[in-house]
């Protein structure tokens, strides 16, 4: 008899699961990760790597990921602020790109509307061209830029983000008005890669991890990385080696919903800390060439404020923000 009841119970649960409106649970056994970019990009990779680490480390059992791309993640951020208010089981991925985008776009929704949890990773950008492009080195690219700045269409992440800043800094270093940079913003991932591989834009600029697959497949030619020194294991010269005095890194982290109690915030902090320290996460960092920049809680909150000031200054000096 017992087994029969279990079957009935399970069937009922299944039906209820389909029809039920989800209710927030008490402990963190479910987590909704908002990725405010399209699939395949850096934030998406961060969100999915978190999912893998949490699941295989048995830290959180049920995880759903939602992609909502566009406008430096501010569309996703607005949706997160609207939908997740007071929900202790929801986080949003974000980072320097979002900080820059909020400043450039004068977004009415900002990072002050969410609860900072932790900075997780840092990553350097790489500049690429399609494999069949006549441009072979950074010198060729800069030469074309000098001849006619508008003729170089840069494809990369959101407007005002790290990728956009890097393209503008390169132009500035070459003595070109950075506001003349012809920058085509993509909400990250597949779309941007397709545009670059297909030769629809001249050059691509984004995080190493976003282009790595296509670089290894021989479809994209890397011209330079934005780090100070060469990245171990990656045989691509830096910008500085090629006479361009520019160095820039991107960081990514996670934020929680507004209106959480101290206990709920603490719960999330512990969950993320456990994940960041897990073996799976550390392996992911190595595999993706991400730098471990773990910084949590109030320290991270202060860091975000300092980043707003720093990126705001750069964006203003480049003429990208007023």
């Amino acid at each position: 008899m017992k087994t029969k009841y279990t079957t009935v119970y399970r069937t009922l649960l299944f039906v209820a699961g389909i029809l039920a409106v989800s209710l927030p649970a008490v402990a963190i056994d479910t987590l909704k990760i908002m990725v405010p970019a399209n699939a395949g990009g850096g934030w998406d990779q961060t969100g999915r790597a978190l999912e893998t680490a949490m699941k295989s480390g048995k830290i959180v059992q049920h995880i759903t990921i939602e992609n909502k791309g566009g406008a430096a993640g501010t569309i996703g951020l607005a949706q997160f602020v609207n939908n997740a208010k007071g929900n202790p089981n929801a986080i949003i991925v974000g980072g320097a790109v979002m900080v820059g985008g909020i400043i450039t776009n004068k977004s009415p929704v900002t990072l002050k509307d969410v609860t900072p949890i932790a900075r997780l990773t840092g990553e350097y950008d790489v500049i690429v061209v399609p494999a069949d492009s006549p441009i072979k080195t950074m010198k060729d690219l800069v030469a074309q830029l000098k001849k006619d700045p508008g003729s170089v269409a840069w494809g990369g992440g959101s407007k005002g983000g790290v990728d956009h800043i890097l393209a503008a800094l390169i132009a500035q270093d070459a003595g070109i008005d950075p506001s003349k940079v012809n920058y085509i913003a993509y909400a990250g991932g597949g779309e941007a890669i397709a545009a670059i591989v297909g030769g629809h834009v001249t050059a691509g600029v984004s995080g190493w991890g976003e282009f790595e697959g296509q670089i290894n497949a021989g479809k994209l030619r890397p011209l330079a990385v934005s780090s100070e020194k060469r990245i171990p294991g990656i045989n691509v010269p830096t910008l500085k080696e090629q006479g361009i005095n520019v160095e820039l890194a991107n960081w990514r982290g996670v934020f929680a919903a507004p209106g959480l109690s101290d206990a709920q915030r603490k719960e999330l902090l512990t969950t993320i800390e456990k994940t960041a320290k897990s073996k799976e996460w550390q392996e992911t960092l190595k595999q993706k060439n991400w730098i471990d920049l773990y910084l949590a809680g109030d320290d991270f909150g202060k860091y975000v404020v300092s980043e707003e000031a720093r990126l705001g200054k750069i964006l203003t000096s480049l003429g990208l923000a007023k």
């Binding site: 399209n38 569309i75 977004s107 009415p108 929704v109 003729s151 407007k159 597949g190």
Partner: protein, 501 residues
């Protein structure tokens, strides 16, 4: 070979217990809504959208695909037994099918339509399987200019050609594009038409609009106008099975119907009406028993039903490969894609191979499930027709309201839902098609984004749209699609003598 490997991995995904269950649930629900007159697959999927927001994308889409072709099977059941085709695509089936039912041959009519649908559906999916990988190679050739052209093609197709009136279609489309523009601009992040209301910053959820237009609008319309329907249900008499003679007279029409249906379904503006009627006309001409037509000829059921189902697969092919929604239901499936942050288009195969191949594999399985389910269960489906309409539509309203509130537990969405529902009621009342609104809302912002990117790349030079071969071809198709039907009518009107013999 690569295709075969992809397909096998697709079966591995589709055959998991969860996805198999969802597929089964989808075809059951689909058949049920197909049987109920007035509830099409569009409405059914719109209602399910909020409830599935917690599923993973693959499972949900497998279920929706099941609803889609389940509804096609179910629709033929009502056409045959009730002479009330749920969709325009089933009208041709109803002509002969209902006559057969009146002659006490409902069983063979239902059987030939079910088996014909199975044959057509399966051939269609094989074609999709073969064609899909070709699209992947085209994918990277699609830049912003090409995407913009495809989206304009989608706009023209769905608004100017699917309905009866171009002006109404275009008005509906523009309404959709306007609603789609509400919220942050995806390129620059500027807030547009938000009136400072924070709930509007991330735009209006397309699910709310779909549920409002399809479910609430439809329920209000039914409550106001359709409480005086007289049904005359044909009883099932005699054997359900087809005789040897029936088989012999059915198999050729099935194949001919498939050959007509798939290309028309895939064609922008092709739809299912033209191939079903074409099939009917061809079968009448080729039949050895032309005298039976109008009195219950089995060929007249077999051909159009196959054409109907093949066109469904054709339109799914276009949706998966190019992101072109060529029918109302495809427009709703497009909503499902957007809900999961997926962009249908050439890149879907590259970015989400497991989803696409899982979906394709589930379509094979779904067709088999439908065949097994439908032949013996016809009697049960017919019982559904006894549900009183007021109860049915009240239930739909409750479900729509609960589901919408469930998306983010915000009363603001309910307000929007009912405002949109009232708009949907008036659109229905004055014969404005609602599908263009949905398509405009989803593709409008994407078209804008790609137009801006294309012009940024070309530095403001509009010739980018005609100098690129793919783009120019698509634009040529758009012009052809716009001028061909009126031109055709003109030519036809010039030679009335030959037509009438």
């Amino acid at each position: 070979m690569e295709t075969l490997a992809s397909l096998i991995s697709g079966f591995a995904i589709a055959l998991t217990l969860q996805n198999l269950g969802l597929g089964l649930l989808g075809v059951l629900l689909g058949t049920a809504v197909g049987v109920l007159p007035g509830i099409g697959p569009g409405l059914a999927i719109a209602l399910l959208l909020p409830a599935t927001s917690h599923f993973d994308a693959t499972g949900a889409l497998i279920m929706f695909a099941g609803v889609y072709y389940g509804a096609m099977y179910g629709g033929s059941t009502t056409s045959i037994l009730l002479n009330t085709p749920g969709e325009s695509a089933s009208i041709a089936t109803a002509i002969e099918g209902n006559m057969m039912a009146k002659n006490g041959r409902a069983g063979p009519a239902l059987a030939t339509s079910a088996i014909g649908s199975f044959v057509a559906g399966t051939i269609g999916i094989v074609l999709l399987t073969v064609m899909a990988p070709l699209v992947v190679d085209i994918a990277i050739k699609f830049g912003p200019a090409e995407y913009f052209a495809v989206m304009v093609l989608a706009f023209i197709t769905i608004s100017a050609l699917l309905g009866n009136s171009r002006v109404r279609g275009l008005v509906s489309l523009c309404l959709g594009i306007f609603v789609g523009l509400i919220g942050f601009d995806r390129q620059s992040g500027q807030a547009r038409f938000t009136f400072g209301i924070p709930q509007l910053f991330d735009g209006i959820d397309v699910v709310v609009v779909a549920v409002g237009l399809f479910a609430v609008g439809e329920a209000l319309y039914m409550a106001t106008y359709l409480n005086r329907v007289g049904d005359n249900l044909q009883k099932m008499k005699g054997s359900i099975w087809m005789s040897k003679q029936d088989w012999k007279r059915s198999w050729k029409p099935w194949l001919r119907g498939t050959a007509l249906g798939f290309p028309f379904g895939a064609l922008p503006a092709g739809g299912a009406e033209i191939p079903t009627f074409l099939s009917y006309a061809i079968e009448k001409k080729l039949s050895k028993h032309p005298e039976e037509f109008g009195k219950g000829a089995i060929e007249g059921v077999a051909g159009p039903e196959a054409a109907n189902n093949a066109s469904v697969t054709g339109s799914i092919t276009m949706l998966l490969t190019l992101g072109l929604p060529v029918s109302v239901t495809a427009a709703i499936v497009l909503v499902a894609f957007t809900q999961y942050g997926l962009q249908p288009g050439p890149l879907l195969f590259q970015n989400n191979p497991s989803l696409v191949w899982g979906l394709i594999a589930s379509m094979y399985i779904g067709n088999v499930l439908l065949l097994i389910l439908n032949l013996p269960l016809v009697g049960i489906w017919v019982k559904l027709l006894r549900i009183p309409r007021p109860l049915l539509y009240a239930g739909i309203l409750v479900f729509a309201t609960l589901g919408t509130y469930g998306i983010r537990n915000d009363w603001f969405d309910l307000l929007l839902l009912y405002i949109i529902g009232v708009v949907g009621f008036f659109m229905r009342r004055y014969d404005f098609p609602v599908a263009p609104t949905i398509v405009g809302m989803i593709l409008g912002p994407l078209a804008e984004q790609n137009l801006r990117r294309a012009l940024s790349i070309s530095r403001g030079d509009f010739s980018i749209f005609v100098t690129k071969p793919i783009c120019a071809t698509i634009l040529a198709i758009i012009i052809l699609v716009l001028i061909a039907p009126p031109l055709w009518r003109f030519i036809e009107s010039r030679r009335p003598a030959r037509r009438r013999k």
